[in-house]
């Protein structure tokens, strides 16, 4: 009975870590992507709106999550995103929206790829 309880507890622990990490990555990247998309939309509309606020919000979320993500994501998966975010942060203080737009596109795609890599689809499992 004791062994059964230990084995079930271990399985539960492993599953909860796996499920938590999956939902954490999905939820946080979702927020980051929507921030970047909102900023991109404002830049593309060319009406001089405040694109810095949603993009800064996304940068802030990334900085909060980065250390936690390192616990369950491969460093290679995070390297490009981290690099792009630091470039975006620098560009936010300038008026160079051309390069910023490219970086926002790139990071949206990288974040989507990272979130997709965590989803246990049939093709990935087998």
């Amino acid at each position: 009975m004791k062994r059964l309880a230990i084995s079930l507890a271990l399985a539960l622990l492993a599953l909860s870590v796996a499920v938590y990490s999956y939902f954490d990555v999905c939820k946080s990247t979702g927020k980051m992507i929507s921030g970047l998309e909102a900023g991109l939309e404002i830049i593309e509309s060319e009406n001089g709106g405040d694109y810095q606020t949603p993009v800064s919000l996304s940068v802030g979320i990334w900085q909060n999550c980065r250390d936690r993500f390192e616990l369950y994501l491969y460093s290679e998966e995070m390297y490009d995103i981290s690099l792009n975010y630091s470039k975006i942060e620098k560009l936010l203080g300038t008026d160079d929206t051309g390069e910023l737009k490219e970086l926002l596109y790139e990071n949206i795609n990288s974040l989507r790829r990272m979130a997709d890599s965590q989803s246990p689809t049939f093709a990935k499992v087998f």
Partner: protein, 224 residues
């Protein structure tokens, strides 16, 4: 480099923890599935040790799951005979009543040379002396010799012997093992009496064993 140090410590703790949970079976006693699980675990442990870009959780989660599944299957195996047979198979009788079952030998993909080798490992050099030979589920061979080939035992001669009891270590390298004292109904008073009988102090004793019948054995420390 410090990362490797911390990772090595964490991985070592995980290995010890998971091996402790998996139990005390030796490699020779393992079922094929258990052996594969052990090799699989060693692989999972070794990868994040060498590559720091891989998060430790990618090792911890599968290890916890594999250990838990292994424990779960062992518990179910204990409770259900059918599940045990499904998982481990059945033992196969190769020699029955002194007659070799050639079809079973073929089904096990064993040659007669393999069988003779296994018998020799059991100190049986003549196959004609074997009454039963059984290939166990872990792949080992158990042998029962014909009645005339077995050694004479006390019971064959109607000779009654007293059961022997296991001696427990009471003092080891000058230290009293309290847990073992209760196992052979020995208290401090009795220990002191025993030591006085051997004209020794606890600190001078290398080994003192005692069984339930009161038989003691003492080795004094050599003075260097």
């Amino acid at each position: 480099m410090l990362i490797f140090v911390f990772r090595a410590i964490i991985i070592y703790v995980m290995i010890t923890f998971s091996m402790r949970l998996l139990g005390k079976r030796q490699i020779g006693q393992m079922q094929p599935a258990e052996l594969v699980v052990t090799f699989l675990l060693s692989e999972i442990f070794s990868i994040p040790m060498q590559d720091v870009s891989i998060p430790l959780s990618s090792m911890i989660v599968p290890v916890l799951l594999i250990v838990s599944l292994e424990m779960l299957t062992s518990v179910i195996s204990l409770k259900s005979i059918k599940f045990r047979q499904l998982l481990q198979g059945n033992s196969i009788i190769l020699i029955k009543d002194g007659k070799l079952d050639q079809s079973q030998l073929k089904s096990l993909r064993m040659t007669t040379d393999d069988l003779l080798e296994e018998l020799r490992k059991k100190d049986v050099f003549d196959i004609s002396t074997v009454q039963y030979a059984v290939v166990e589920t872990d792949g080992s061979l158990s042998v029962m010799l014909k009645a005339g080939e077995t050694g004479v035992k006390n019971k064959n001669m109607d000779y009654s012997t007293k059961e022997v009891t296991m001696p427990y270590v009471i003092v080891s390298d000058g230290r009293v093992i309290e847990n073992n004292m209760s196992l052979c109904a020995c208290d401090r008073k009795r220990l002191d009496k025993l030591l006085r009988g051997h004209n020794a102090d606890v600190s001078e004793v290398m080994l003192l064993t005692l069984d339930k019948d009161g038989n003691s054995f003492l080795i004094k420390k050599e003075s260097v």
